[in-house]
Symmetry: C2
């Protein structure tokens, strides 16, 4: 990376600024939070002039989209791992939910960017429902595995119910008011599993 080079050895042409900008954005998100994520700050963090990003991204939104996309990639990997590790079919859904929330807890600012990008588009990228590794498809397929209804509408409702519940927990899990519960239950993961146990769909209690 750039930091490893002595200043004078840094070439005029960066080589892979596009990627470096996305990395810089993620670094900023981790250290300063979403409100600090301006185009200028990203350029600064990447060690480049404020105008440089415009050779790689149409505008700020396009850079944010690229950052969000990287977030989804990481999330999908985490969920694949969770699904593979789970012992029973019943456990798979809870583990997927836990993995989702833990991702959001580990990368809260990145998660926020992902959510904002999704909401502003109001329609998720096409591969969400197409890629088999996407978070959506993994939840849906696990529901099928667990014996969910054959009805297509019900299956979609169930998948979205799981997604919405996980999203809500992801956004609220950091609230201080949960601290004493986490303590009583012996840690954050136990707390998450406890919450999911009341949400039917994650506990294998398929309804309807």
């Amino acid at each position: 990376m750039r930091e490893a080079l002595a200043p004078e050895s840094r070439p005029y042409h960066h080589g892979d600024l596009s990627r470096a900008l996305v990395d810089a954005a993620r670094r900023l998100l981790e250290s300063e939070g979403p409100s600090a994520l301006s185009l200028r700050a990203v350029a600064r963090e990447a060690g480049v002039s404020p105008a440089a990003p415009y050779h790689h991204f149409k505008d700020k939104g396009e850079l944010l989209d690229a950052v969000a996309q990287q977030g989804w990639d990481i999330l999908n990997v985490a969920m694949t791992a969770a699904r593979a590790t789970a012992l029973s079919v019943q456990d798979k859904l809870t583990s997927l939910g836990v993995a989702y929330v833990q991702f959001a807890r580990e990368h809260p600012a990145l998660y926020r960017v992902m959510y904002d990008a999704s909401r502003d588009k109001a329609d998720l990228p096409a591969h969400f429902h197409a890629d088999n590794d996407s978070a959506y498809c993994q939840v849906r397929d696990t529901l099928i595995e667990a014996g969910a209804s054959d009805d297509e509408v019900e299956l979609e409702l169930a998948t979205n119910a799981a997604w919405c519940a996980a999203h809500g927990l992801a956004e609220m899990a950091a609230f201080k008011q949960f601290d004493h519960l986490k303590e009583k239950l012996g840690g954050e993961e136990a707390f998450l599993r406890g919450v999911f146990s009341h949400l039917g769909i994650f506990a294998g209690t398929a309804s309807r």
Copy 2:
């Protein structure tokens, strides 16, 4: 209100600027969204100089807190009504959830301010768990009514599970990807009830 007076009849002293500012903020939220909610814009909307609000609020954050508080009041009223209208005990929980989400749908920007204020504090105002009419207590009491576990920790887990799930749905209900489901099911409320039916706790399927 001020608008009703001819400009020259407007007194130098406003009379109730504090309240007028909160009202102006809410008007701005409804019409322009949360990103437009600057202190200057609120003062402008209230027809007052940018410095005037500082006689009533320490800073922008304090004004936002007042706006959020008004939001919680409205939400609590809506949930009380929903609980009173519901036919059966089982229906009460779903109706509470639907009312919560519908509030967020009708006042999306206000809901966002409420959520942001809660998160930044990371601990909710004390009366959340004290006032019997608070959203939290209404959900908890309805869970008791529906025969939830006596165990205090489990009850708290269940209440928070409901809250988190409702929050997730509230934030995601506007996503365009749900449109075809809403259409198939005959409207937004049917969609919401469909989602809740998969979340156990709202469907009267108490687990554990």
